[in-house]
């Protein structure tokens, strides 16, 4: 390799001591003459002056940000799927603005071309008629969605948001490795990459000319807003739901841009347009940023097995009642084989050659091309023609350099005879390298860029940087990009100073705020049940702790009490011998499941608290008592409740969460008092009830040493000053119900309010003497049916 420049400052020389670009492979940091490229100089200057400890401290800042924000993606591995922290490669990739401008111009041309191809393949099909596109590549293309043939997008455009994977070829030029037109992901992660790197290198950022990302998102949001019809609500991201690998990004992006986050079951199509089920009834939404694959969008006209779609969405497209970003069926132009034809199609449709080449591709369904692939097998990757994956994807690459990657029965030559139309040959490529910090030093690692393009009123713009994938080893054939690769920020460095711009205060704030009454019913339902399950977990945990403490203290002296408590716990589903008790585990898991659907509505701290709570639902180690374990869980639930009470914005979502907590609180108090505070209960049961309601001090304060069923019932049920009391919970519930939509109409209370007030009044007029177990149980039943009525009114 070429020698490094001899007159480098010693610090830089030391920092790059392990940095050895590979022979014949372009490197982003070091040019072919061994010089540091000018765009990197200032950054390397800074980096080289950091001690290993300082580097570790800075990287930790970035990691901390990602952890605090809960940035994760879902990783599917061998049938199991789990959440994984975002794999940040801490060293950014730097690219000059001039080079970036060329990339952008090339991709804008490509985006316009893909739009033209979409218009043709869902319209007149001239490309097929003229022989520019083999009909098989549409007829057998799984993403060519037949019901969309002849359906014109109402805004005139099929494509609005795209991404492209780019690699740098050995001659230094960029080429396109694949086109993402269906539902590109990564833009939200790019934003998080940027926040993380800004934290790590804040001193550098202030003085650098790194292009900011906010403007790109702002103009795309404005574009989405402009696509709406007159009466439609805020545009929405249509997500497959919390099981999707990039659900975090859907929620994050929705939150960042002030868009709604919807799933298929939030929508119903009426009169040719999608409507959102909200707590105030159906509300039209007519711009959907689709993150769900085309075939799943509509079980009626597309994949009938889809559980995540909305019946009638295709009909809504046909009737021009909705703009899909991107149109259903736009995945058709992602297939690998199209790359074999795009260069010619570009000249044909635009009169110009492609400004940015794509990876050289030969479709084996043509005899001349097949022969070429056959003759150059050593320099080819052979893979499925209709696949939409990256060229070097491990899962479906059949062969590289003529060597079969799988235990195929047929030889490659045989495959080329029998399956030719289903195969492409693609030039076996190498990628450029860029620095990653590995084992305490900067080392070259293969790299691909992901570039996002968004449409706005005047055409396309590229997001200036944000996302590169970094390979795990120094294998530059691209194979190391899978399984364990990481993701780096990309800095596009301008020669001019950058004027910072921020998202806040942009556009018309009223426009995007979204009316409070438009909370989707499904979100409200998840919030309501989150409140109920958290409250239930808290109650069961308290009761179990009280039981375990009594067990230790009174093992021999009061068997009847222990028996009574055990019976009550069992009635509630808690088996004290289980580790951890099932009913508690179920409440926590149910709460966590609700919270997964609420990523766009709960603060990161609240999500982190629930995640921590879930982690506690595990067998406690030997030597840790049940009471201690319960205490830990209890503190975590109280922490979450505190966040909700002290920090959560008083939105209608907060109302539903709090109403769930209050209703569950009322139910558990009824149950507790009915079971433990009654004449037939063994001695000590009333104290246990007071303990469980954390009301022992209050009781002493009010009644001194006198304790009877009446005093305990008074305190736990009828004393409004006691926040654990039944009446206090009902007072709270009243405030929330009154603030919900349509609680009153023309001065008349709604049926739900009337049902509630009956219960509220029935409790308020009680005395400790009249409030016996039977009355409490009947109040419980009425509260349960009130919950059903609330569900019917707002949540379905």
């Amino acid at each position: 390799m070429p020698q490094m420049m001899p007159n480098l400052p010693p610090a830089i020389e030391a920092a790059l001591a392990s940095y050895r670009p590979l022979p014949g492979i372009p490197d982003e940091l070091i040019d072919p003459n061994g010089q540091i490229r000018p765009v990197w100089r200032a950054f390397i200057d800074l980096f080289s002056r950091l001690s290993p400890d300082e580097i570790a401290a800075r990287f930790a800042l970035g990691d901390q940000h990602l952890a605090d924000s809960g940035v994760y993606f879902r990783h599917v591995d061998g049938g199991t799927s789990r959440e994984r922290p975002w794999p940040l490669s801490h060293v950014p990739v730097l690219i000059s603005e001039r080079e970036w401008a060329e990339i952008e111009a090339g991709l804008v041309q490509r985006a316009d071309l893909l739009e033209l191809v979409m218009r043709d393949i869902y319209g007149p099909n001239r490309l097929v008629a003229e022989g520019s596109l083999p009909p098989m590549l549409l007829a057998q293309n799984p993403e060519w969605i037949r019901p969309m043939i002849g359906v014109q997008p109402r805004t005139g455009h099929f494509l609005h948001f795209l991404s492209f994977e780019l690699g740098r070829s050995p001659n230094g030029k960029w080429w396109v490795l694949n086109d993402r037109t269906q539902a590109p992901s990564g833009a939200g992660f790019a934003l998080e990459n940027r926040v993380a790197t800004t934290r790590m290198f804040s001193d550098y950022f202030q003085s650098s000319n790194v292009k900011r990302l906010e403007g790109f998102f702002r103009s795309f949001r404005d574009h989405l807003l402009s696509l709406r019809g007159a009466d439609a609500t805020v545009p929405a991201i249509l997500s497959p739901g919390s099981h999707a690998d990039t659900y975090f990004e859907h929620a994050y992006t929705a939150r960042y841009l002030g868009l709604a986050l919807l799933e298929g079951e939030d929508l119903v199509v009426e009169k040719g347009r999608p409507m959102v089920r909200t707590i105030s009834g159906l509300r039209p939404v007519d711009v959907l940023w689709r993150r769900i694959d085309s075939a799943f969008a509509d079980p009626l006209e597309l994949d009938e097995a889809s559980q995540i779609g909305t019946p009638g969405l295709v009909g809504a497209m046909r009737q021009q009642g909705v703009t899909m970003v991107n149109a259903i069926g736009s995945g058709a132009v992602e297939i690998r084989a199209l790359m074999a034809f795009l260069p010619r199609i570009c000249r044909l449709m635009t009169g110009e050659p492609l400004r940015l080449s794509n990876i050289a591709t030969w479709w084996c369904g043509q005899s001349k091309e097949r022969a070429h692939v056959r003759d150059h097998l050593d320099a080819m990757m052979i893979s499925p023609a209709l696949s939409t994956r990256l060229p070097f994807d491990r899962e479906d690459t059949s062969a590289i350099g003529g060597k079969l990657r799988t235990q195929a029965v047929q030889t490659l030559q045989g495959l080329l005879d029998t399956e030719a139309g289903y195969l492409v040959g693609q030039e076996a490529i190498t990628l450029s390298t860029s620095p990653a910090y590995v084992d305490g030093a900067l080392r070259p690692r293969p790299m691909t860029l992901r570039v996002f393009l968004a449409r706005h009123a005047d055409g396309w713009t590229a997001m200036p940087g944000g996302y590169a994938r970094i390979g795990r080893s120094n294998d530059v054939t691209g194979l190391s990009m899978h399984a364990g690769g990481s993701c780096a920020d990309v800095w596009v460095v301008s020669e001019q100073p950058i004027v910072p711009e921020r998202m806040t205060g942009l556009g018309d704030a009223r426009e995007i705020a979204g009316d409070e009454t438009e909370l989707p019913s499904r979100a409200a339902e998840n919030l309501y049940w989150l409140g109920r399950y958290i409250q239930r977990a808290e109650f069961l945990t308290r009761l179990t702790r009280v039981f375990d403490i009594r067990t230790t203290e009174l093992r021999s002296s009061n068997p009847p009490l222990l028996e009574h408590l055990t019976g009550y716990l069992r009635f509630l589903g808690v088996e004290p011998d289980e580790n951890p008790p099932t009913a508690i585990a179920q409440s926590v898991r149910s709460a966590a499941r609700c919270s997964r659907h609420l990523r766009d509505r709960l603060a990161p701290d609240a999500l982190v608290a629930i995640a921590a709570l879930s982690e506690m639902i595990a067998p406690r180690p030997a030597g840790v008592s049940l009471a201690l374990h319960m205490g830990d869980i209890l503190r975590q639930t109280i922490g979450f409740s505190g966040l909700v009470r002290e920090y959560m914005y008083r939105s209608s979502g907060w109302r539903f969460l709090s109403a769930g907590k209050a209703l569950e609180g009322a139910l558990s108090t009824c149950s507790l008092v009915a079971s433990l505070v009654e004449p037939s209960a063994p001695p000590g049961a009333m104290e246990a009830a007071l303990d469980c309601a954390d009301s022992k001090l209050a009781h002493h304060h009010r009644f001194g040493f006198d304790m009877s069923c009446d005093t305990v019932t008074a305190l736990l049920c009828l004393d409004r000053r006691n926040p654990r009391s039944l009446l206090h919970q009902l007072d709270q519930l009243k405030l929330h119900l009154e603030a919900m939509p349509n609680a009153a109409h023309d001065g008349m209370a709604s049926p739900l309010m009337r049902a509630f007030m009956k219960i509220h009044t029935a409790v308020a007029v009680q005395t400790p003497q009249t409030l016996d177990a039977a009355t409490l149980l009947s109040i419980s039943r009425e509260l349960a049916s009130l919950s059903d009525q609330l569900t019917a009114t707002y949540l379905s």
Binding site: P134, A139, R146, E270, K271, P311, G312, G315
Partner: protein, 299 residues
């Protein structure tokens, strides 16, 4: 031949269903030179809140129907007077199967009747070793396409038993073929798999059969409900021919075409999405009778 058609499809739900949306394909097609609808009506009950007609990508007339609110049944009835021409005997030379590949490649068109749609696997038809092996076993060394369609259709008719209890609407055709039994849907899917397996583009036809046979002829199997048969592409000159493997006959003036597709999932007469708490019962009745030439028994 002039026919009067009465077709009724009814679903009864054990518990009330909520709002539901359906796409239905029940009206006979207009096929220039072969089949013409003189008059037709389509009634849906309960009365839909929304109803819009569109033509699907295979040229079938479809209706998008929305029923608002709870309902316990869903009924579709069609009445039509249809003129059906007997097809003229084929006078064109039968191309060899080997020539189809090139003929298809030269076919630069993806319209509703393009052979390109009907070659590979589709949602419900998966050409495989069993079916392809069977098809190859009944073909001579170098077969003509039309000849191949007839031989495969007749061989399947001989091999398979018509048995309404052998399968249901969701039985995969592989299982029906393994059991050598089924109904018109199974016969058709299996024959399509056989044809595609040997390189002949083949599709699914839904339709109805004449209820009472012409004098001296046997009543056809499958006349009590909607029927299904197969179409096969026999080169650019001949185009599509239709064969009914359930009855082992070439389709003539006793068959009325309702819809074309790659398999049943493209043409199912009523496809709906609804939430059901209990089960459902469905029933079909079909009546296709020769109209009085004077038109006195108009529907």
């Amino acid at each position: 031949m002039l026919y009067d058609l009465r077709l009724k499809i009814a679903y009864k739900y054990a518990a009330m269903a909520g709002s539901s949306r359906h796409v239905i394909r029940v009206t006979p097609r207009d096929l220039p030179g072969r089949q013409r609808t003189i008059v037709s009506s389509l009634e849906i009950s309960p009365r839909p809140a929304e109803r819009s007609a569109f033509r699907d990508s295979f040229g079938n007339e479809a209706q998008d129907v929305f029923l608002r609110g709870e309902h316990s049944r869903f009924e579709i009835s069609v009445r039509a007077r249809i003129e059906r021409q007997a097809s003229a005997p084929l006078a064109l030379p039968d191309p060899r199967i080997e020539t189809l590949e090139d003929a298809i490649r030269l076919h630069r068109d993806l319209g509703p009747d393009s052979p390109h749609h009907f070659r590979a696997r589709s949602r419900l038809v998966r050409p495989g070793q069993e079916t392809t092996g069977f098809a190859l076993g009944v073909l001579p060394e170098s077969a003509g396409v039309v000849e191949a369609v007839r031989r495969i259709g007749e061989a399947l008719h001989t091999e398979m038993t018509y048995d309404v209890n052998a399968t249901d609407v969701d039985t995969p055709h592989e299982a029906a073929f393994a059991a050598r039994g089924g109904v018109c849907q199974d016969f058709s899917h299996i024959m399509i798999a056989c044809l595609r397996g040997v390189g002949i583009p083949a599709g699914y036809v839904s339709g109805v059969l004449r209820t009472i046979p012409p004098p001296g002829k046997e009543r056809l199997a499958g006349a009590d409900a909607m029927h299904a048969w197969v179409r096969a592409w026999c080169g650019a000159n001949i185009g599509w021919i239709e064969f009914d493997p359930t009855n082992a006959i070439e389709v003539g003036d006793q068959h009325i075409v309702v819809a074309y597709g790659r398999d049943y999932s493209d043409v199912s007469p009523a496809k709906g999405v609804l939430r059901l708490a209990g089960g459902q019962q469905s029933s079909q009745s079909v009546d296709l009778v020769e109209a009085d030439s004077a038109g006195s028994s108009a529907p």
